[in-house]
Symmetry: C2
């Protein structure tokens, strides 16, 4: 078992775009590792703006979730409101905007819970997770094709939420479990 | 707040491949929602085989993690061993193979912890998370460009793991927090 030590990043020998659609670009990267090994990887270029996820708490024991259509899996999935940060938009403003667009509430009290990424082997997709409390009704029009179903869930019944067949997104699961940990020992108050 | 009700999936009006590289294909899907709204989405076609993640427990309080180069973020990331299931391979066999390739151990005792997905809005990427116990040394040669650094972490110090700047992958965080919950009240024993 090695001890942690500084790592030498592989050298990027060449990079080129190998596919592009309207929204997605794929880049091929030729790498030479510090031991001499050479590999060719593909990575998906994101918008670079990052994204936010919001855990809205209606009261001390009630979470709000949404059920929305997901094209990747072609089904409806239960999860927390989320979305991309607009260019120039502050992170927390993006979180409050998504909350109003997707769920019809704004929040007065915000806590930054954690930053996560997704599949760093081929993505560079950062997401900041916020807890939103002291909610009040406020609706903004988003670009959603249909109104989202809003679902209330008691936090103390989180195991039944984990058991829902449509609550499977790793970032929503991480958010739920980090929230539980935070509520046991909040570090900001 | 609506009650949960059966959803009518949008109709897929048209679909076509709009980009393809050596490893990645992007499909455009034209959809008509049940309220008449029309949208065009892009989704990334995966291998369809699914993936596994393994939480190796060296003893009751020691996790094993790996630190490996990630091309998407161009840095080294700390996380649990994981990989794609080979065609025809059973899920748990894939988990035991990845464990041997990446960390040099096999396991006698396996528990299926949870199934997660990743960004279902544009991916169909399923990952099954296993807990591996009763480990014994066994090395298989994988396709890794360099040996992976293996890192031990005490479970009861999980908050310091969450605080590591290179432990940010949502699926590893979900796995860690689900493990804690499982160890508090294991449901298989």
């Amino acid at each position: 078992m090695e001890k942690s030590k500084p790592k030498t990043l592989p050298e990027i020998v060449a990079r080129k775009e190998v596919a592009r659609s309207r929204l997605i670009a794929v880049e091929q990267v030729d790498l030479k590792f510090s031991n001499g090994a050479e590999r060719c990887f593909e990575k998906i270029k994101g918008s670079g703006q990052g994204a936010v996820m919001v855990i809205p708490m209606l009261d001390d024991n009630t979470l709000l979730l949404i059920r929305e259509y997901c094209a990747g899996t072609h089904n409806y999935q239960l999860g927390f409101p989320k979305g991309l940060i607009d260019p120039g938009e502050a992170m927390q403003d993006a979180a409050n905007r998504e909350l109003q667009e997707e769920i019809g509430f704004a929040a007065k009290r915000w806590t930054h819970l954690h930053q996560v990424c997704m599949a760093p082997a081929f993505f560079n997709a950062r997401m900041d997770i916020f807890v939103a409390r002291d909610l009040y009704e406020s609706k903004l029009q988003g670009d959603e094709p249909e109104p989202m179903e809003v679902v209330r869930w008691p936090i103390n019944d989180y195991r039944s939420l984990l058991a829902q067949p449509d609550f499977t997104e790793a970032r929503s699961i991480a958010a739920l479990m980090l929230l539980r940990d935070f509520l046991e020992a909040p570090d900001d108050e």
